[in-house]
């Protein structure tokens, strides 16, 4: 159900700005507000990790394994997408030619 909420919120924002209901001036300010909100959200996400003493305790014990698995997962996901990204972009050029 969360997905529906996210889609609704994103669509509402898209609809409002597509209809031009937000002027360029407001949008410029929004960029700044958006960035501050983003940093605040990341800060609170950090707080959520910090207040959970179980996570901190577990990190001492399993932190190394967790870092290795997450690091390799990220690196190989990036590599995987890098391999196909050329293919995806090449199809883009073909369509453009037509």
């Amino acid at each position: 159900m969360r997905i529906l909420l996210y889609i609704t919120i994103i669509s509402l924002g898209a609809f409002l700005s597509y209809r031009g209901l937000s002027s360029e001036k407001v949008l410029e300010k929004l960029d700044r507000i958006q960035y501050l909100c983003l940093l605040f959200l990341l800060f609170v996400m950090g707080v959520k990790i910090g207040i959970n003493s179980e996570i901190i305790k577990a990190f001492y014990k399993l932190g190394y394994s967790a870092v290795v698995i997450s690091f390799f997962s990220i690196i190989f996901s990036i590599l995987g997408v890098k391999i196909v990204s050329k293919f995806i972009k090449s199809s883009k050029k073909k369509v453009e030619k037509i």
Binding site: L12, G13, L30, K48, F72, S77, K82, I88, V95
Partner: protein, 198 residues
């Protein structure tokens, strides 16, 4: 941008660990949900501003599905390789990686097998989210926009979507949402599958 993101997360962890106001601690999930919804609204505004977005996405066409597919493949390969370094059973590592960043679900599922594996899944997937968020501006500038989506895994649908939008562009944010949606649907299938091999 990377430094500011890193600072925000680290300051949050430190202040949460040493001092966190009761009012924030009690309502932390509400605060995160509210912040996330607000940011997703902004992502929507960015999408609406870009009038070429539908054309951009049409140009990529059905091939977009390759992105989540390669993320799953890359994650499994990466997790299996890490099992050799850590000297742990191959499919235990693969199951941990299969969380694709969705730490709550993967922790619950894997703690059914063992508490330690559940904790490892929680830590590893929360780290995937944190490392991806911190690295995103770097990946977007130095590697590529689509690769930024790859790092995020299943979180490209929610928590890391605002950062992807900020680091790349609004066409990418639509692709990122799609990829996150596909991956989030796959996690509940992939996890039990990997666990069945343990």
């Amino acid at each position: 941008m990377t430094v500011k993101i890193l600072l925000a997360v680290i300051l949050g962890i430190i202040s949460g660990y040493f001092y966190a106001p009761e009012i924030i601690v009690e309502n932390i999930n509400g605060v995160i949900d509210f912040g996330l919804c607000l940011l997703l609204f902004f992502v929507g505004i960015d999408i609406g501003r870009n009038k070429n977005i539908l054309n951009d996405i049409k140009k990529y066409g059905y091939k977009i599905i390759l992105i989540p597919f390669m993320i799953v493949l890359g994650t499994i390969v990466g997790s299996i390789l890490s099992s050799f370094i850590l000297k742990i059973p191959v499919f235990e590592a693969a199951a941990v990686g299969s969380g694709l960043g969705w730490y709550s679900l993967s922790a619950i599922e894997l703690s059914k097998y063992s508490t330690e594996l559940g904790t490892l899944a929680f830590l590893s997937n929360i780290l995937r989210e944190v490392i991806a968020i911190i690295a995103m501006p770097f990946i977007a500038t130095n590697i590529g926009h689509m690769e930024t989506i790859a790092a995020a895994g299943a979180t490209s649908m929610d928590t890391s979507l605002p950062i992807i939008t900020k680091a790349t562009n609004s066409s990418m944010s639509v692709i990122a949402f799609f990829s996150g949606l596909v991956l989030s649907t796959l996690v509940p299938i992939l996890l039990p599958l990997m666990m069945s091999f343990i």
